[in-house]
Every structure is written in C-alpha cells, then in structure tokens.
C-alpha cells in the first residue's frame, strides 16, 4: 500500500471512530473499543444503530451501500468497515 493510501485509510478510520464513539458510546471516550472489536459481540451497535451507521457512511463517503453488502464481513468492526469503504471509494489498489 502506498503512502497516500495509508493516509486515506487513517482518515477514514478516524472519521468512523469519531462517529461511532460519539453516536453509540457518548460517555466512553474515543478509545472505548479496539479496531478489530466486533460491533455486534461487544454490543456497540444495535438494530437502530446499524441504520444510522449506514446512513452516515452513505452520506459522508458518497457511496451507495448495496443490500448484499450489508453483511458482517463488510461492517462488523472498525477495521472491516474501513477497508469496505476504501474499496467502495476506490482508494484500495494502486
């Protein structure tokens, strides 16, 4: 991964962490969960939360989340979500 991609990844992750912490864990601080923690297993995001998250990423990153993309492999941790968005916005490959 080149330098530019690395930085973009950091940006995306930072934006997502900010949104998730503020929206779902408002009193817990920014480091309340690890990059690889499952949102589901840790109880970070619930059924209404997932709707908010989807709306947020569609709006913020100007992407369209297709039905078949709403699966844990794409969404169920900060790491997974970041690489999913990277793939969608086309920053992933050289």
């Amino acid at each position: 991964m080149d330098q530019l991609n690395k930085e973009r990844q950091k940006d995306i992750k930072g934006i997502l962490r900010g949104f998730i912490s503020e929206t779902f864990l408002p009193s817990a601080g920014l480091d309340a969960f690890a990059d690889e923690d499952s949102f589901l297993e840790k109880g970070i995001i619930d059924s209404t939360g997932i709707l908010e998250l989807l709306e947020f990423i569609e709006e913020k990153f100007k992407i369209r989340v297709e039905d078949e993309e709403i699966v844990p492999d794409n969404l169920d941790s900060l790491d997974k979500l970041t690489s999913y968005i990277q793939r969608k916005v086309g920053y992933a490959g050289p």
Binding site: D46, T48, I50, P72
Partner: protein, 516 residues
Amino acid sequence: MLVHEFLEGSAARFPDKVALICEGRSLSFLEMEGLANRLSNALIEAGFQRQDRGAIFLESSPEAVVSIFGILKAGGVFLVINPQVKAKKIEYILNDCQVKILITDAKHLMEIREILPGCPSLQSILLADYESLEEKAIENLTIPLNSYCRALKDYPATPPPKRCIDLDLASLIYTSGSMGVPKGVMLTHLNMVSAANSIIEYLENTPDDIIINVLPLSFDYGLYQVLMALKFGGTVVLESSFLYLYKIIDLIVKEKVTGFPIVPTIAALLFKLKNLEGNDFSRLRYLTNTAQALPPKYIDQLQKIFPHTKIYSMYGLTECKRVSYLPPEELKKRPTSVGKAMPNTEVYIVDENGRKITRPGEIGELVVRGANVMAGYWNLPEETERVLGPGPIPGERVLYTGDLFKMDEEGFLYFVCRKDDILKVAGERVSPKEIENTLYELDDVLEAAVVGVEDEILGKAIKAFVVLKKSSSLKENDIIRLCSKRLESYLVPKYVEIREELPKSFHGKTAKKELG
C-alpha cells in the same frame, strides 16, 4: 410429555434429517440427540441433581442448543443468559436461582470472571472451547473448569434414566421486573409442552418447515423457535443476530426458509434494503410478529415484499409464552387486532372489580387460563401472588396479565396498553398506544413512543417522542397540528420531541421508562 422428548421423538422418527444449521455447520436429529445424551451423562456423573439449575451463557449456537437438552435430560432446569447481559446482572441471576453449572466459552468467561468468586453455588464451569483458554488469565478462579468437548467424548450417547415428571421445572426465563431487578419466570415441562403444542397447531407446522431464528435464545420467542422445530421435526437455521440483515435475507433464499419470526424492529430494518423485491421468497410460508404490534403501515409494506407469505400477528408474555394469534386471513379486516386465544387456552377481560366484561369495546385487564401459565416467579411469592389469581376451579390459578385489552363484536382482541401505562389526562383515561398508532400513520414518522409527563393543570400531559425520516422537514408543531386533525383534542400530545432514535431494550422493544 417432557421438553427433551421433543428431540428424542424426532431423533427416532427422522434420525438423519437436518435439525440445525448454524454458520455453515449442520447437525442431524440423531447427532444432536447423541450429543445431548453425552452431556447429560457427564452432568449426572459430576453430581448434577434433579431440578438443579444450569445456565447457558453462549451465542446462539449448536452448543447452546445441545446444552439446553443436556441439562433437561439430566433432570435439570436450564436458563439462557443473553450474551450481552453485563457481569453484575449475571451475578445477580446466578445467585438468585443458585446456578450449579455454567456452560460458556472462554471469551464470555473473561467478561464475567470478576463476579465468579461471588457466586458460591457454582460448582463447575463447562467451556465449549476449552482449547483456546489461556489458563493464566484466570488464575484466581477457584471454580473448576471443565471441557464441554471432553465431556462429549468421554460419556456415552445412550440416554440417561428419566428423572423428571412434567410438573417439574424445565426452564427459568429472566425478564425485567420492577425496580430493575430481573425476575425468573418458572416454567414447568407441562407449561412449555402445552405452549409449543398450541403454537405448532395454529402455525400448521410440518416436518417440511425450515425456520430461521435470528432472535436470542434468552428471549422466549427465539427459544421456542428451536424447541418447536425440534418437536415437529423441522429444521432451524440459527443466527445470532439480525443486525446485518442481508445475511438473513441471503439465508432465507438459500436455505429455502418457510418460517421467519420477526419483531417490528426487524421489519424496520427490512424496509431499508433497496432491492428486496428482486429476491425469490416464494418458499416463505409465514412471518410471525410479536413483542410489539406491527404498525398497520408496516403490514402493508411487508405484504408487498412478501406477497405469498402469511403474516401472523400474535400476542404473549413470558409468563405464559403465548396468548393469542390473529388468523392471517383476518389481517386486512382488523390489522390492529391480536386475534383470539390460541388453541387450548382461554382468555377473558375483567374490570377493576374482577368481574368479566362482555360488552364489546369496554376496556379491562386480560386474564389467561391454560396449561401454559407459569408456575410463578422464582423466589418471589409476593410478586407471584400479584399476577396469579384464583380461576373458575377451586385452587387453580390464572394469569392476570397486567395488560389492558378490549374485544370487538366478534370477540377479536385489541391490546390497549399496560395497566401501568394508562394515563389519566384531565380525568380521561388515555391509551398511549392509540396516539402512537396515529403518529405511525404520518408518512414521515419512523418510530413513536408516547408517555405521560407531570403537568400542573392536567395531572398528566401527553408527550410524544418521534423519530422522523432523515428527509423529513416536519417540526414539533407540525406534528401536533397533524395529530389534532386525527385525534380528539384530549388525545393530542401537548409536547412533542423529535429524536434521532428511541431507547430500546435487548429485544428491540421501545424502553419507555427511559423517556420522559
């Protein structure tokens, strides 16, 4: 009949048929019966007595289901603890009913390791994934850890001798009680077998049915999906969550699912998908809904997505599992009704003096009579006394649901609200439900909850919390104006608050106590 005989019966009838599918694994009835027998033999050998309590703290999985049956076969009482319950509450529950054996895995054990020294009744912890445990991480633990896998290997697959009769307890289901302390609903084998029989009868389940269960096994609605399918010889597709809904849709199509139990939150998630109509749902025979009524708008939308699927609106409470269901053919005619009593259950409505109400439209408390009514709350004789009252036969006890209902001319039931929820506004009895239904009729409203707030003049004033579509431009005053066009003036909310979301309980019900 005993609950674990569901599995024994199906294992004898359909030994090689698939009983359970979970994350790509599948188990036949015979395999599951064998595993449950092995586990029960291990438990008995370890000193587990008839009616001892065994707790299961696992994600929805084959291990969780085998554990339920292993505990039952050993004559014990099982309780399933939701994997998201916090350690403090688990400590309360384990001590409240004196759990002797806990079946969990390393990850969940880590989350509760601090409370374990405070649970003296625990004699053994069985780990479903013994190998992955790092021993040093729990060095202060004095309770012996045992391997679930080794128990399954070391003990025979032959069934242990019967230890129970059907008046013995089969399960404790913890529900939230007043003051935030959970109450254990005591269910006998007879209670559970009766409820399962009635539900299977009206859903017309057959061994050809394939049920997808995305609801937690700690929730009676989720638990019964598994118990019932094992009884009628169908297949269960088990998923630990409905959060990532496309996975569920995919499974429904791929596994040719015929039954999909939902709660309104799942419907709300479904409506967010963009291309649902493109899927082949022709095998899906029915949807069921309970926990909270489906707003009529949701019913129309669901019927559009699933044109060939019957929708059952149902009503129940953990204390008796299920009470009533609306035959799907009645849904168009009376979308807000929860129907009539299910087979082998009787219901009636009583006024404040306990007299039966027969006049249509009159509101009173719903009373349930049937073999499905619980034995009581664990260790809470006073709370039990409050809900189990005398019935028509001397000595029998019927369930006072605490839910207010009315009936129409043809005897169909309509939920009004919880007895505790009814608001007295300027001397009038107001049902929050009625106002919520009106709010749901507004196109921009996604969710609504109505509560009473203190008011100097009115005693209680009506306050509505609503979640609007993102695209909506409605303001608080617009909502009040729209309500006043549709409701009698005393029912129009005095206050409206627009929120991003409403607080939810574990099972997706709106947690009204946190509002207002």
